[in-house]
Structure formats: structure tokens, C-alpha cells
């Protein structure tokens, strides 16, 4: 049952991400990208990370995709894309295939060390995934959390300045 669900979701994810690359119209690419995000959220649930799945749906499929689709609509790109929309298919394809082969060799050639940590399925079931994330984030990772907030502030200011009229 788990295997069937995994293979189905993985197939949809791979096909959707391929059509992100393939589609001529950027709106179709964006819709395929949403499909890919939702498939990954399903995989996160299968990996016992429901909080990450919720964040994936809300942040990626919600906020970031709304931004991208808003920009596509604003720039009215549908009328521009009559001519060739790709370049360097051969080089890019060879390089991507090479990367796939290389990563497969890495995956097949090694085993992860440090397995058997304290966060098992039973701990996630009893304590709750969100609480575990919150505890880790606000104790061990407090400084990176604050740095992330500063990064978001800088990004907001940068976006506001870049969208001024004189640039």
C-alpha cells in the first residue's frame, strides 16, 4: 500500500516537474509546479513530517506561487512567446543526465552514518511533530531563526526599493 502510494506520487511529481521545463506557456509551467509541490507534501506526510507538509502547501503552493503567477499576469508574457523558447538542449541534457548518473552513484555507494537517533516514530506519535520542531527551533536553532527573520526584513525592503519607479 505504501509502495503503491509512493510510486504513484513520485511518478506524478516527476512528470509534473518535467512539464515545468517543457511547457511553452509560463502559466502552464506554474500549474505543473503547484502539482509538484503538492506531491512533495504527500511525500512529507509519508515521511512522518506533517508540519513540513502544511508549511509546504502554505508557503510554496500558496505564497510563492501566488507571487509567480501575479508576476506572469502583470508582465503579460503570453503574447511574447512565439519564437524559440529554449537554447542549448543538447548541452543541458547531457549535463543533467551526467548529474543524475553521478548522484545515483553517490546514493548507491554509501550508507548514512549516525542512524538510530532519538526521534523515532513513537516519539513523533506521542509528543507531536509540531512540538518537536518548535522545541528544536527555539532552543538549539534560536540564532539562525533570528537571522532568518532579519533576512526576511532585508528581502521586504529590497523588494520595495526595487519596485520604485526610477530604477
Amino acid at each position: 500500500m505504501e509502495a503503491i502510494l509512493f510510486y504513484l506520487t513520485a511518478l506524478v511529481a516527476v512528470v509534473a516537474s518535467f512539464f515545468v521545463v517543457k511547457c511553452r506557456n509560463p502559466i502552464n509551467s506554474a500549474l505543473c509546479l503547484v502539482t509538484n509541490f503538492i506531491c512533495l507534501a504527500v511525500l512529507y506526510v509519508m515521511l512522518e513530517a506533517p508540519f513540513m507538509a502544511a508549511i509546504q502547501i502554505m508557503v510554496y503552493a500558496g505564497a510563492i506561487m501566488v507571487l509567480i503567477i501575479f508576476v506572469i499576469m502583470l508582465l503579460q508574457l503570453a503574447s511574447v512567446n512565439k519564437k524559440a523558447y529554449t537554447h542549448g538542449i543538447l548541452g543541458g541534457g547531457v549535463l543533467a543526465a551526467l548529474m543524475l548518473v553521478l548522484t545515483n552513484r553517490f546514493i548507491a555507494g554509501g550508507e548514512a552514518t549516525g542512524t538510530g537517533g532519538e526521534i523515532t516514530s513513537e516519539v513523533i506519535q506521542s509528543v507531536g511533530h509540531t512540538e518537536l520542531i518548535g522545541r528544536a527551533m527555539f532552543t538549539d536553532f534560536l540564532l539562525p531563526f533570528e537571522i532568518a527573520s532579519i533576512l526576511l526584513l532585508v528581502a521586504i525592503i529590497g523588494a520595495v526599493i526595487l519596485s520604485k519607479r526610477e530604477i
Partner: protein, 100 residues
């Protein structure tokens, strides 16, 4: 039974497809979306290995990757709008103002 190798293989495939898109597409917004595919495949790697080794730290890193992706979306799309105002185009072949 699905092991961690399946998830790593899937994320390698997704990363390669994202690389293909970044290298071959001309439209800057589509390139941006392919970068999002690559970031998501890395997130899948993090979460799969986080479950495999029984440690929460990988999922915290996914959280930070998402933060950086959101900041990147805001700034990158603002840059694209500014570029489109100047050049009336969004294709990467027209990004040649620093070339001489």
C-alpha cells in the same frame, strides 16, 4: 517497503530535471520556477534523511531553506519587473547590459 534510497533517487531525478530547465529555458520566470524545483528536491533529501537517522535537525534546515526561497521569490520577481520595465523582455538572452 520504501527505503530512504527511493526518496534519495526521486530527489536526484527532480534535481536533474530542475538543472535541465535552468540550463535550457530562456524565460527568466521559468528558470526561477526550475530553481524552486531544485530547492524542493533538496528539501525532500533533508526530510528523508532526517527520518532515516532519527534526528530533527534536517527538518529545521528545510524551514530555513523555505525562508530563503520566500525571500528569493520576493527580490527576484521584483528584479524581473524592474528589468521588464527597462527592456520590454524577460528572456535571459537580453540580460546583457554588463557585456561589452
Amino acid at each position: 517497503m520504501i527505503s530512504v534510497h527511493h526518496y534519495l533517487l526521486l530527489s536526484a531525478i527532480l534535481f536533474s530535471i530542475g538543472t535541465l530547465g535552468v540550463l535550457t529555458r530562456k524565460n527568466a520566470i521559468v528558470i526561477f520556477m526550475c530553481i524552486e524545483v531544485m530547492l524542493n528536491s533538496v528539501n525532500l533529501t533533508f526530510i528523508a534523511l532526517s527520518k532515516h537517522v532519527g534526528n530533527m535537525d534536517g527538518q529545521i534546515f528545510v524551514f530555513f531553506v523555505m525562508t530563503v526561497a520566500a525571500a528569493e521569490a520576493a527580490v527576484g520577481l521584483a528584479l524581473m519587473i524592474a528589468f521588464f520595465k527597462n527592456k520590454e523582455s524577460i528572456e535571459v538572452d537580453d540580460f546583457n547590459m554588463l557585456k561589452w
